[in-house]
């Protein structure tokens, strides 16, 4: 069974930066395909995502749950079984992703939401955990 591929769809340069950062920390190359919404219409963004998904074992990550990237990704994946869309993508989430690409996409997506959330911590002055 092939490993799950990650597609990150985000505003501006963010997708490329997230993919490069994940590669530089993990050393795992080519697991994440970045797609930017910069300078493209909703129709073109949908086309790019559809071509990237291409019926494979894929998780689509987006930056903002209410954003145009999420709208486009959910529109594409609505008709594609077993392709989850995960919003609020961050580095902890992607690092966990690249090391668990043998899991089922839906099961992995649930895990990654938890990992992404647990990577957000307020280290408040004067308090120790």
């Amino acid at each position: 069974m092939s490993e799950v591929r990650g597609i990150v769809v985000a505003h501006g340069h963010l997708a490329r930066c997230l993919a490069e950062t994940t590669e530089s920390i993990s050393g795992i190359l080519g697991a994440i395909q970045p797609i930017s919404n910069a300078d493209c219409s909703p129709e073109i963004l949908v086309k790019r995502i559809r071509e990237a998904v291409d019926g494979g074992r894929v998780i689509v990550f987006v930056d903002l749950d209410s954003g145009s990237c999420c709208h486009a990704a959910r529109s594409v994946c609505r008709g594609v079984p077993e392709v989850p869309v995960v919003s609020g993508v961050n580095v902890p989430m992607l690092l966990d992703f690249v090391f668990h690409r043998d899991m089922e996409p839906v099961e992995l997506a649930r895990r990654l939401v938890s990992k992404g959330q647990s990577g957000v911590v307020a280290h408040l002055p004067g308090f120790s955990s």
Binding site: H11, D39, C40, S41, P42, I44, L64, D65, S66, G67, S68, C70, H71, R74, S75, R78, S87
Partner: protein, 162 residues
Amino acid sequence: MTLTLFRIDERLLHGQVIVGWGMRLGIDYYVVVDDELAASEWEQDIYGAGLPEQTKVEFVTTEQAIERFQQLDSLPGRGALLTRGTGEMRTLAESGVLAGRRVNLGGLHATSERRRVLTYVHLTQEEAGDLEAIQAASTGVTARDLPAGKEVDLQDLIDDLE
């Protein structure tokens, strides 16, 4: 008058609108004028997801927007009316409901038919004609992607297109 923003933006309810404009202006509700979306519940779910708590959204056809304009313009709180393209806003303007209102031109992105006039605005001649018609039926059309951005008059956009 509670509708405080009239915006043309082909991404409709997206981050720049909800966060950049909505949070700055304190928008309580959105009216999305789009015939296709008004008939598609699953797309409405996608567009409505991620709105701030308490913020409402209503999807209406162009015809409904004209018929119900007074009501949509007197809902509690501050509202924003959005269209995907210039054509829908032109129809609203020519019905008379935008008299005394200013229209904001947001994102219209590159296609093979459009020419770039700003980084976030690309226009065909037909769309430029729509904007001129909107301007004639309102207090004006200006382009501005975000509240802090530079406001550009329609005439400057048209001059760049020619």
